[in-house]
């Protein structure tokens, strides 16, 4: 077992032109080029992608689940941000 560990990378793939990159999984690699090649070899074997992003896992900052109520619940009552909130004549294609 090597004393040092290979860093973890997260892999994001654009499956078709026009779509966003989507997280598909992770892998271990020593450097960006190797991570890119491993992502290609591992995650696009069945033509799953046309573009790859790789990101060092430790560079990702994520919200904590304990923050969820403070972060996301306050949006709950802002229903006026949605088109269905407004009362307009239906036949005018507004």
């Amino acid at each position: 077992m090597s004393a040092r560990r290979l860093p973890l990378w997260e892999v994001f793939i654009r499956s078709r032109r026009g779509l966003d990159h989507k997280h598909v999984g992770s892998l271990h690699a020593a450097d960006p080029e190797q991570a890119m090649q491993a992502a290609r070899d591992t995650y696009t074997r069945r033509q799953e992608g046309v573009s790859i992003w790789i990101v060092r896992a430790e560079d990702i900052h994520a919200s904590q689940s304990d923050d969820a109520q403070a972060f996301f619940d306050p949006a709950e009552d802002k229903v006026y941000r949605h088109p269905t909130f407004y009362d307009v004549p239906e036949d005018l294609k507004l």
């Binding site: 271990h28 080029e33 190797q34 090649q37 491993a38 290609r40 070899d41 074997r45």
Partner: protein, 250 residues
């Protein structure tokens, strides 16, 4: 069609088949999981290429032999791959160094073959050139990484290169088949491929802090069926079922 045409395509098919066979031996035994997957991809590209090339060779021969008859029912003396392909996998350094030397050759070869007068071959080359372009990027990166890595990896890479170098001349030694193919516009001149190959390889080896061995030992003979002693063992393993149960479907 000429006998030379058949021989030429068969040689390419045998190279692909035998290196594919060697690479597949790594399956499940690579230094880490990501590499198991990557190595299998490269092996699959070569097996796929072998199937297309051997099928084409069988068609050119016109004797009704398909890819499997050519792969499984010929003896050692009838195989015409270069010796470089058949050497045992050795350690990871040996496998990747060999792969790099072959990948650069294949990249330039298939780039040229895209313009072959043999349209089927040009079609196969168009597919193969994309694969080889990735193979080169991958194995070149490995040569640098291991050549310029630790003392141990450097030592292993240099020793692999020392062992392999004497087998590279054979790839570019033009014989009557190559000459006939060049004359018919089916294959590129080998001297030109060698020039491109040498320029790439020497530049990369320098970047990888590796040095080209200066001894004069050279081995060849694969294309005439004079193989290393490893070849018979490789074939015995690969062909065992077809040979021990002749004529059956699998």
């Amino acid at each position: 069609m000429s006998n030379a045409h058949f021989s030429y395509v068969l040689r390419l098919g045998d190279n692909a088949l035998i290196i594919g066979q060697r690479l597949s031996e790594w399956c499940g035994h690579s230094p880490f999981l990501e590499e198991d997957i990557a190595m299998a991809n490269t092996a699959l590209d070569h097996v796929g290429r072998a199937r297309m090339l051997l099928t084409h060779a069988g068609d050119l021969e016109g004797a009704g032999r398909d890819e499997d008859q050519l792969a499984y029912l010929r003896d050692e003396r009838e195989f015409c791959n270069v010796l470089l392909c058949e050497l045992p996998i050795g350690d990871f350094a040996f496998t990747l160094m060999r792969q790099y030397l072959l990948d650069v050759y294949h990249l330039h070869l298939f780039e040229a073959l895209c313009r072959s007068q043999d349209e089927v071959l040009a079609g196969i080359a168009a597919k193969a050139v994309k694969e080889s372009s990735y193979h080169c990027r991958r194995s070149a990166e490995w040569v640098c990484r291991l050549g310029d890595g630790t003392d141990e990896s450097h030592r292993r890479m240099q020793s692999a290169l020392d062992e392999l170098w004497g087998y590279t001349d054979e790839i570019f030694a033009a014989d009557a088949v190559d000459e006939a193919m060049r004359a018919q516009g089916i294959a590129p001149p080998l001297a030109e491929l060698e020039r491109l190959w040498r320029a790439d390889v020497e530049a990369l080896l320098a970047r990888a802090t590796l040095s080209v061995p200066d001894d004069n030992w050279r081995a060849s003979g694969g294309r005439e069926g004079i193989h290393t002693e490893h070849m018979g063992v490789l074939l015995a393993e690969m062909q065992v079922l077809q040979r021990s149960h002749p004529g059956l479907a699998w």
